[in-house]
Symmetry: C2
Subunit: 206 residues, 2 copies
């Protein structure tokens, strides 16, 4: 069985949980409390020397970091990973774009507003930058999703899961989602996918 080291409320962890749940891949979860410094504990660093979550242990003991690498590895061969080379290219593009231009802004804005609000005043300047760049990312999604139901190939895929992880909590980072009607409609569409589960449902399962 797979073991996923995970932390409550992390969009990067949620992506992997949602994919495994939707693929009906059995896995157990081990909760690591990032806020308590558990990713830096000697015990966890023996498991994952990079000290990050999510972290996946495969049934044969091999280990894997990087949430989007997990998505590509786990989805391969399933209906959630296209076979067409140009659709695959788009999956790669969205997943790298998520890590370079979306998650680095939406995730910390949400963290310092919704999870660690005591740091909000000190982070005000950075939050303004994250809002500006996160909104630029949401505008790119809005433009695409105003013409397509899904991110790649007009059907639900691992690219949608990759982008859903933090887009579904952007409102908690005070991104005004009413400005993004096509993104909002897509969020609802993802919720209708087979075996969909909310972040907090999966966080406490397994």
């Amino acid at each position: 069985m797979y073991t996923l080291y995970t932390t409550l409320g992390s969009g990067n962890c949620y992506k992997v949980q949602l994919l495994m749940h939707q693929l009906q891949v059995p896995f157990r979860m081990v909760q690591i409390d990032v806020l308590k410094g558990e990713t830096r504990s000697p015990e966890y660093l023996r498991i994952n020397p990079n000290g990050k979550v999510p972290f996946l242990v495969l049934p044969d003991g091999r280990t894997l970091g990087e949430s989007n690498a997990m998505l590509l590895h786990l989805a391969e061969g399933s209906d959630l990973m296209p076979q067409d080379p140009f659709e695959r290219m788009r999956v790669f593009e969205w997943l790298f774009w998520e890590q370079s231009s979306h998650e680095p802004y939406i995730s910390p804005a949400r963290f310092w507003i919704a999870i660690m609000p005591e740091g909000r005043v000190e982070k005000a300047e950075q939050i303004a930058t994250w809002h500006e760049r996160g909104n630029a990312a949401l505008q790119i999604m809005e433009k695409h999703l105003s013409r397509h139901d899904y991110l790649v190939g007009d059907r639900y895929s691992v690219a949608d899961i990759g982008l859903y992880g933090y887009t579904c909590v952007a409102q908690d980072g005070e991104f005004d989602m009413s400005a993004y009607p096509a993104v909002s409609a897509w969020l609802e569409r993802v919720k209708q996918s087979a075996d969909y589960r909310e972040m907090m449902d999966l966080a406490t399962a397994a």
Copy 2:
């Protein structure tokens, strides 16, 4: 023929140029001067609304952003992309890790030290952070490369190209490469790969 929109001295652009050169894929380059604001010109934004480089136009007119998505798309089916699922998993892991934990620190440190040194004093605090995190990334590479000649499957692959792009210029960002003998030996090994070209050789070719 492929067209690559590129900018002089960018490691993200160089990766794609090096791969295409080594795969003997014919391409032409269009130089975009980021420092002169050309990625934000109306003309360029009509080509790439995201305003970034590198940007690839495929022979059939389709376009592709994200350097590492280009690497995965172009390398597929060649000797530089493994076929084994677990080796592919490692390629994905290194390429996502490069964008999340390596390039975001090594690239800006090098930029503000070697390319825009007039901003160095103002950026001193950030440069210290980039050095700390960039060195952490180089230590992870050092640990792996002290036991392996290459990043994946003990042979040269697209993962090496992905990491080479900014590791080869880390010294210009005042990362002390003498602290990383295995990484330094790997840099030399990459230079021995078939049809290798230096960054500046490819920047002026086309």
